[in-house]
């Protein structure tokens, strides 16, 4: 039976949203291939999370538990996963990993170990045939079935490229967070648990984590925020975000976001970046203030339930995909809007 493997990610022994998104994506591919879904879980004292993986679509869980695996580190995770997969006679058909700071750190190294093709930051997946016909690459030409179609935006997100690597299993891809849908949890679903051998050497442990810091309470993670106030270059300066903060204060739990230009200018820290090189978000409401809506920005926000654009340039591309728009100077519009909202 073919296997689709995903990597579980967790923070402080709590499974991250990407884990459920990957399982959801793997489930729909597995149904097309009549394959099973497996999940690799590395950590310490983390066995109580296994049931959640089964419920989210895994048929099998590979577990590696060790104090040195409590938090993600490149080398020990790389070693254990690659040792195990290399030892298998039949490799997983597909291996999906989140395009997070963890997944994008680890997946390239694993792909090197397996000589696998790896497609970065995919936004769509599918299964299909590939009829490869190359005059210069005769050795590999032929018809390939059950290939992973890894689909991702490219060339500044103006194109969608379908990338394949059918010659070596596992066929690998990292998946952009916030895009794939988890399945509805199946309570009490059973599965198979396989303990993975752990052989770590001194060299695998030579990187130490000195400190990890995550903002948990005072700010919501952008990729799961319900309301986002996004600022673009049209704000003209960093102080513009004071106004956006005030606007955000008019809603319950609204987060701030920013375009790449804003981050490059140093007006906001990187973690607020939405778009091609930042985060993909799917809030219920996104108010884009002084955001032009260039293609790099669009892919980051196009899954929002409702996009409101405030921009003085009537020709800005954002008005082509926003749901509501106000054409006007945001420094006039927003203070008025704040006043209106406060009266509610």
């Amino acid at each position: 039976m073919k296997e689709i493997l995903v990597l579980a990610e967790h923070v402080d022994n709590k499974l991250s949203p990407i884990t459920f998104e990957l399982l959801g994506a793997a489930r729909s591919l597995a149904d097309k291939l009549q394959a099973r879904v497996a999940c690799f879980l590395l950590g310490y004292n983390i066995k109580d999370q296994i049931q959640a993986l089964f419920s989210a679509g895994a048929d099998r869980v590979y577990i590696a538990e060790h104090p040195e695996l409590k938090d993600y580190r490149t080398l020990p995770y790389n070693k254990i996963i690659s040792d195990y997969i290399s030892s298998l006679e039949i490799k997983p058909h597909i291996f999906l990993i989140g395009a997070t700071t963890t997944g994008r750190d680890l997946a390239p190294r694993l792909a090197c170990k397996f000589n696998s093709g790896l497609t970065a930051d995919c936004t769509e997946l599918d299964i299909g045939e590939f009829d490869y016909n190359s005059k210069t690459d005769i050795k590999r030409s032929g018809l390939y079935k059950d290939c992973l179609y890894a689909i991702r935006p490219s060339f500044g997100e103006s194109l969608k490229a379908r990338i394949l690597g059918p010659w070596n299993n596992p066929q690998m891809a990292t998946i952009r967070p916030g895009i794939m849908l988890p399945i509805k949890p199946i309570e009490n679903k059973q599965g198979e648990i396989i303990e993975v051998p752990i052989n770590l050497t001194k060299n695998d442990l030579e990187i130490e984590i000195i400190e990890s810091f995550r903002e948990i309470n005072n700010e919501i993670d952008l990729s799961s925020a319900e309301i986002i106030i996004e600022g673009g270059y049209g704000l003209a300066n960093a102080q513009g975000f004071d106004l956006l903060r005030e606007l955000a204060g008019c809603f319950n739990n609204a987060s701030l976001g920013a375009t790449r230009k804003v981050i490059d200018e140093g007006w906001m820290p990187y973690k607020y970046q939405i778009g091609q090189t930042g985060k993909t978000v799917r809030p219920k409401l996104l108010i884009a203030c002084g955001v032009s809506g260039a293609i790099q920005q669009r892919i980051g926000i196009q899954n929002a339930g409702c996009i409101v654009a405030i921009n003085k340039d009537a020709c800005a591309p954002i008005f082509r995909f926003a749901h509501y728009g106000i054409i006007g100077d945001l420094y006039h519009v927003i203070p008025e809007l704040i006043k209106e909202l406060k009266e509610f």
């Binding site: 490149t74 700071t101 179609y149 490229a161 995550r214 409101v308 008005f319 509501y324 106000i326 809007l337």
Partner: protein, 268 residues
């Protein structure tokens, strides 16, 4: 304090996506016609390498792989103060994916010899994969710190802060180590007078050019051509399509009053 010997920085020339030149109707880029630039992410890697040299000594070698025209970004690197540059250029490299690219760069690094630190940009704007750095570290069997936004060296170990979801993490790693530099690192400073003068001289004197810019082919680095180019790449782009514009159903509102009423509806 001067204990570093060799610092490598890997850079790439990319098409300028802000410019319309060389953009085909289907959205793909004609690299021969497109305006070329240093990959914006590599500017941070360059600054990190310059900071490492300033604080801990050593010689910086900037390495790029690309067509002969990619020499332009080596001039730029020299103007900013790197000591030496390498251009790996060979027809058989064309079409290499990250697996093949990392193989070629690993062979180039082996050819150059020992090093303490390798800096890479987080990703390139044309490939957007952020994979080559980690794959080189894997092939060299050395540790890596990705998404680095600050670093120092103490007791021959690098202590680096990396970006993680919703925060940051500080790691300590032994040398040699490969670092990919986030765009939250310090911006690249101005060119140096010394560097600008050097590049002027290089343009005039062939001998000087050969001293500062070394051009290598795949025989020099003893790379196996079967692992390079399209036929050496485990991935292939099977299809591209233009992303369709979303239909324009934007309701233009007159002012804040109207908008606040709509928002009230949306958030109900």
């Amino acid at each position: 304090m001067s204990f570093l010997k060799n610092i490598f920085v890997l850079i790439k020339q990319v098409p300028d996506q802000g410019s319309k030149a060389g953009v085909n109707l289907d959205g793909t880029i004609d690299r021969a016609k497109a305006r070329r630039m240093l990959n914006p992410f590599d500017r941070y890697a360059l600054q990190a390498a310059l900071d490492a040299k300033k604080n801990y000594g050593g010689q910086i070698t900037a390495i790029t792989m690309g067509p002969p025209l990619a020499i332009e970004i080596l001039f730029e690197a020299l103007e900013h103060g790197v000591d030496n540059t390498i251009l790996l250029s060979d027809r058989s490299l064309a079409g290499s994916d990250t697996w093949a690219t990392s193989y070629a760069l690993k062979k180039t690094i082996n050819y150059l010899g020992e090093f303490d630190l390798i800096f890479c940009g987080l990703q390139t704007t044309d490939g957007d994969t952020a994979q080559v750095g980690s794959q080189i570290a894997e092939r060299l069997n050395i540790p890596q710190i990705t998404y680095c936004e600050d670093f120092k060296i103490e007791n021959e170990k690098i202590i680096a802060r990396r970006v993680i979801e919703g925060g940051h993490q500080t790691l300590k790693a032994p040398l040699p180590c490969l670092i990919t530099v986030a765009n939250s690192y310090k911006a690249l400073k101005y060119k140096t007078i010394h560097g600008a003068k050097l590049v002027q001289d290089i343009m005039r004197e062939e001998e000087k050019k050969n001293k500062y810019i070394k051009i290598l082919n795949i025989n020099d680095i003893k790379a196996n051509p079967d692992f390079l180019g399209i036929k050496g790449s485990p991935t292939i782009v099977s299809k591209t399509e233009k992303i369709s514009e979303i239909s324009g159903n934007c309701k233009i509102l007159k002012g804040s009053k109207e908008l606040s009423l709509e928002l009230k509806e949306i958030l109900k």
